[in-house]
Amino acid sequence: MTVQFGVFTIGDVTTDPTTGRAPSEYERIKSMVAIALKAEEVGLDVFATGEHHNPPFVPSSPTTMLGYIAAQTKNLLLSTSTTLITTNDPVKISEDFAMLQHLADGRVDIMLGRGNTGPVYPWFGQDIRQGIPLAVENYALLHKLWHEDVVDWSGQFRTPLQGFTSTPRPLDGVAPFVWHGSIRSPEIAEQAAFYGDGFFANNIFWPKEHYMRLIGLYRQRFEHYGHGSADQAIVGLGGQVFMRPKSQDAVNEFRPYFDNAPVYGHGPSLEEFTAQTPLTVGSPQEVIDRYASMRDSFGNYQRQLFLMDHAGLPLKVVLEQLDILGGEVVPALRREFAKDRPAQVPDGPTHAARVAARDAALSSDAANPVVQDNPAETALDGAK
């Protein structure tokens, strides 16, 4: 999988503005599962769910849902968008996602985010003003729990650990791949670069110039920290599309959902928003053309997730959209993205490839032992 394509969902329960009907929580949860199964059926690579702790959102328990989906799929990679690194206990994230990784035979990765719902922080005993320090410290612990069998730890935000082992250990000794998701924070780009992790720029609500800067920063710092050249950094992007064979049909059908959508409804017009953000409403070919050009702005990248199911769109319509996405759009994008892709640009991360890379590194290390720089010192140099 050169570039991994998939869907990410917020899990909102929103009234369909054309019918006035809102699904029940039960219906919405089952819809999310149906969307994931459809994603596999139409040949997409990834399904990612958000995490929320307030109405009108249902996905408070992502690994429960992803485990249920894992049992019904064979190839689909299961991920999050995002897992709250600020308000979840990193110990529980470590355990939950390692367990999921075993159950899903390695088809699991994770996207970490801070979350922007103010009250969630105090509800979970945290302080939103500490958002960045929480993301930094909690991930430092999560990373340690996945990479060291026995952990001694003390930090600012959670009770210390002495002699703690997070179980189960990651499958094959290789932790789930980590994406750091961010809309605007250079600190998170820096954090992703420091660890050599992936950086997911959720660009669906904002103009591309901002993300060109943020991704450029991540790539440059990834190289600075010695993980490879800037074009080898692992980048993911969001997207949002609505398609019908005839462009005008797509616009007419989607407009009431756009006009009343949470987040941007009643603000910019559909035309303004499609001009300024990756939202594309039109024919499949228009979507192909728009998204094939993404790498001109952001460089070759590894993962493209589409938001397909929000704003009250009925399940039936979403499944039709996935048929078009998987049937026409993604195959064309796969061909486009394969063109002129430099050999050194890595593919989207998979567990099997990461296990193979680890094994290769171990056997070459055994042949040529090297002394590693202390990464913490490098970090301090880099922060200057």
Binding site: H143, F205, H210
Partner: protein, 223 residues
């Protein structure tokens, strides 16, 4: 008052952004904004400083301002306006007084300006209203707004009631009452001085700059 001042360097340029929140066209708010800008420009040019003035009528951007509040990002046109304001050496901000405070449009605009982007900005505040009774709104509404934004608000603001446009003031009486032009001149003295000393427009502002103290591991060792 006299003081010794270093002559400005040859070719010194200062940029002033003027934000007017008047709703009618023409508006007395814009008229006051223009008068404040003119007085400041004359004073700076008298010191050999070239001045570029960019005037922004918020009315022209009313929809974009609302859209920014809802969508979280500015349209290209509004983005240009924000850059003009943030990158100026001084800001003249003038609002009509509605319902005992600045207009909603005026507040909405400053709500979408990055809260840290006006730090140390010299700001001259002005307001207009139908009667002189609302003149204190300058000091209980506009001034705290810019104080919150850590801007350097000039102590003298200028309020113009409708009647001020046809009044000569009353400097003869015990309660010395300066005319509007006199008050504009008085306000421009300190504002021009602050603008002359400002180097904001030559500073590079990088919204992606990391705080030098930021450490991606929080000081915890990564392995």
């Amino acid at each position: 008052m006299s003081e010794t001042r270093t002559a400005p360097a040859e070719g010194t340029v200062r940029r002033i952004a003027v934000v007017s929140a008047g709703l009618s066209q023409p508006s007395s708010t814009r008229m006051l904004a223009d008068r404040l800008a003119d007085a400041t420009v004359r004073r700076l040019e008298g010191q050999g400083i070239r001045v570029q003035v960019e005037t922004i009528e918020l009315r022209d951007h009313a929809r974009d301002i609302t859209n920014n509040m809802l969508a979280g990002f500015p349209s290209p046109a509004l983005g240009g306006v924000l850059e003009t304001v943030i990158g100026a050496d001084g800001l003249i901000a003038v609002s009509p007084i509605f319902a005992a405070s600045y207009s909603g449009l005026f507040k909405s605009f400053f709500d979408i300006v990055d809260p840290e982007s006006l730090e140390e900005m010299p700001v001259l505040i002005g307001a207009t209203g139908g009667t002189p009774r609302h003149s204190l709104a300058l000091d209980y509404a506009l001034r705290p707004l810019f104080t919150y934004l850590r801007a350097d608000v000039i102590p003298t603001g200028v309020y113009a009631a409708s009647a001020d446009w046809g009044s000569v003031g009353d400097t003869a009486s015990n309660n010395s009452l300066a005319s509007l032009p006199e008050r504009i001149e008085r306000a421009s003295i300190r504002f021009a001085r602050a603008v002359a000393a400002s180097d904001r427009s030559s500073r590079v502002q990088d919204p992606f700059a990391l705080d030098p103290s930021f450490n991606p591991t929080g000081g915890f060792t990564a392995t």
